[in-house]
Symmetry: C2
Subunit: 457 residues, 2 copies
């Protein structure tokens, strides 16, 4: 009765059997098995088979059934366009009209403008209008994430009529676990959960039991902020209003899980210096194409380091020993800079660092840089002294490490805050970038000090 559990829990169906039924045009057997699968597994099958098999699927499944697959699908941008173009345009338009508006928007934004317009023309006028409106919202805002399939009700309705509305809307609404309460101008005034509804007396007025302290977002709010609200308040869905508090749509928790996943990947990949981390399946050429821009940019920054060091060639010629500690110093300063950067970028992303705490943060990092700098510096003095038996070299390298860590820690916290201030995503000041900048300052400090002390070395 229960599927056999497997390691990855994704082969709970006999793929080859399904393909055989499709090829043999055994529509009944295929539909019986396929439609009992979870939409996510259906989507995995759909994406995996070739275009010929997919074309049979379009004949065997109704646009409504295909819409379920598209609700569950997770595709690369290019694939979506490719798949949609496999379909008969009328079939595709019908399928889209069965999908939740937020998912339709996701699909349509991947098509070029002509295709998009022709689909909108084939769709029901009211839906086409709603979708055009949703597509007008800027990317990464609440407006672009929300769906318009919510359940709303007037304040003076009874619990009974609310339950009837829910029953009627259940097949279409994205969630029926919250009912949003509005006044005569469709302005949001409250919220009530299905949980509260099913335990309430049928004649109770919604007004008397609704929660009036409803937390909501504006259509222009950033998606990271929305994600934070979900994390804090543990909502399953969340209303979005315009400037006049008129209810425009809702955001559901499944969309937010995708956003969180995206944002986490995004910050992480920027820290590693890659533009897009998700493409595990890409070939070596595509992977190289994704990574080369950063590598080459950093290569040129590295050239600046090299040319600055050129100024100290005379010093290096006199005391070749100095070169041995260059990787140590630049590495350590890079590491401490990345640590500070990671804390600050993550703090900005989660909203824990705001205007008020910025200054406190920088002072904190100055203190941290000083402590870690002195600690590492002392260790280095000792180790170098024991190794090279020269207190002078030990003091030089230790001082350079101490100063480098101090500067790198401040830079690692200050630069992302500065970049954020001028309205750019602070994650662009990513790990390798700040590391290379810290390379330059640390080597300048080290070789500068060495040149000053050259007589004593």
């Amino acid at each position: 009765m229960i599927e056999e559990k497997d390691e990855r829990r994704d082969v709970s169906f006999d793929e080859d059997q399904l393909i055989r039924w499709l090829i043999d045009e055994n529509i009944d057997e295929f539909r019986k098995d396929f439609l009992s699968m979870h939409a996510y597994d259906q989507a995995k099958f759909y994406v995996k088979v070739g275009p010929d098999i997919r074309k049979i699927m379009y004949h065997f499944l109704s646009p409504e059934e295909m819409a379920e697959i598209y609700e569950a699908i997770e595709l690369d941008d290019e694939e979506i366009e490719y798949f949609i173009k496999e379909m008969d345009p009328n079939y595709a338009a019908k399928m889209l009209s069965y999908m939740y508006t937020d998912d339709v928007v996701d699909v349509l934004t991947e098509l070029d403008e002509d295709d998009r317009d022709s689909f909108l023309e084939l769709m029901d006028e009211e839906m086409a209008e709603e979708i055009t409106e949703l597509m007008g919202y800027e990317k990464y805002t609440a407006g672009s994430l929300m769906t318009t399939e919510y359940v709303s009700i007037q304040e003076n309705s009874t619990v009974r009529s609310a339950m009837n509305v829910l029953r009627r809307e259940a097949p279409n609404a994205e969630t029926i676990y919250y009912v949003f309460v509005v006044d005569e101008n469709h302005r949001l005034t409250g919220v009530i959960s299905l949980r509260d509804l099913i335990v309430a007396e049928e004649d109770t007025l919604i007004r008397d039991i609704m929660n009036e302290r409803v937390v909501y977002a504006k259509v222009t709010d950033d998606q990271e902020k929305i994600a934070q609200i979900f994390k804090d308040y543990n909502f399953l869905a969340f209303p979005v209003v315009d400037e006049d508090l008129v209810l425009q749509g809702i955001i559901t928790v499944d969309d937010i899980i995708d956003v969180m996943d995206e944002e986490a990947s995004d910050d992480y990949s920027k820290l590693a210096g890659i533009s897009d981390i998700d493409d595990i399946d890409a070939g070596p050429f595509k992977a190289a194409k994704q990574r080369l821009p950063w590598l080459v940019m950093l290569l040129f920054l590295g050239m600046i380091t090299a040319s600055l060091m050129g100024q100290f060639e005379a010093t290096l010629e006199k005391v070749a020993l100095l070169a041995l500690f260059i990787p140590l110093i630049s590495g350590t300063s890079g590491n401490s800079g990345t640590q500070a950067l990671a804390v600050v970028v993550r703090g900005i992303a989660t909203g824990e660092i705001d205007e008020k705490s910025k200054l406190k943060m920088i002072f904190r990092e100055m203190g941290t840089g000083l402590i870690t700098g002195i600690a590492c510096g002392l260790i280095v003095v000792l180790v170098v002294f024991l190794w090279k038996h020269s207190l002078m070299i030990g003091m030089l390298v230790g001082t350079a490490i101490c100063c480098s860590i101090f500067v790198a820690t401040i830079a690692g916290s200050f630069i992302p805050l500065l970049i954020h201030k001028i309205g750019i995503d602070p994650a662009v000041a990513s790990g390798p970038f700040i590391t290379t900048l810290n390379d330059i300052t640390s080597i300048l400090i080290y070789l500068g000090l060495a040149t000053m002390l050259l007589g004593q070395l």
Copy 2:
């Protein structure tokens, strides 16, 4: 009617007024305002005020009301212990008995064993047993995340009786939006959503409308795997069973959001070389304490680099120019290694890289390393030739960069896969660690090549 929206949406209440009411012992006004607040806002207030104010709160709020606050609270480990000890033990025990078992477990694991046992003794025997059992599951497994407050029903019940069970359990169950269907041995056989229940005919048998292809986890499954299932299938809750398929508990989406947040922070902070990134409020000493272990460890690894370079001191003495390119070469190899590492670590974490695709991944990375290596190498040959007018030096640096990138990319993908294979979290092969290892190989390649070619330089 609706709260005024503010930038961070967290001051939807007059904090000072609440404190004044507490100090004036105006219990009615305090309760009226405080209890209308969302539990998350209540928790923020509770955490923010001092111990004296909190002590008044314990008198003004029932253990049941305080339990709501503790459901919503997000605390550092040390704070929880501190707060619980402020309370009268009987009050605390009562409060715990009103909380969902998974949250009780979270609180109790922060206390020392004696305190824990004394609380368990004060609690209802059945609950104490359940909690002891939950506390027995290993950290980061499905068992440690799940709660036992779910709604279950027999297959041969009707929709009407299911709805009655739901109404009865609604105040206690963590979610009532799924009803889990079990056989006479309490083995999981299906699931049905409240959405399906409210649109079904009252006399329908659950068996006839339940979903039999229920996706579930075992108590021993890792939390990352659970998070992946939530991401894929968009569930709101998810059953957990033991080896015999007997239903043990459920995991709800809000817990998974916390897990995802934790895991993302965790991978990110490891890539940056910090043990714990969340502590924005820590002072400089605490921050330094968190960061120093990594810095010092890397410092000693850096010393190895320096001592290996010491082998080439003679070469460096003869051609001091060579030193200029050391940061460039080690930096570039570090960057490409981190890129490969980030892709692989993330791929392992999300489950996209499994046993089968491992080898493919390594071959892909070899290809990527070769392409990026040759591309960067050629650029460097050209730039160094134009700058230093020496084709020999250009070729040397270019070849070293090309080989370093190739080796670093393979190491960046191979090492985490290897570490994962032997059962360790691959994120420990974090950015700075692999960077420092790559430093060593790249410098060996560069100075080794240089020494071989010394006659021509």
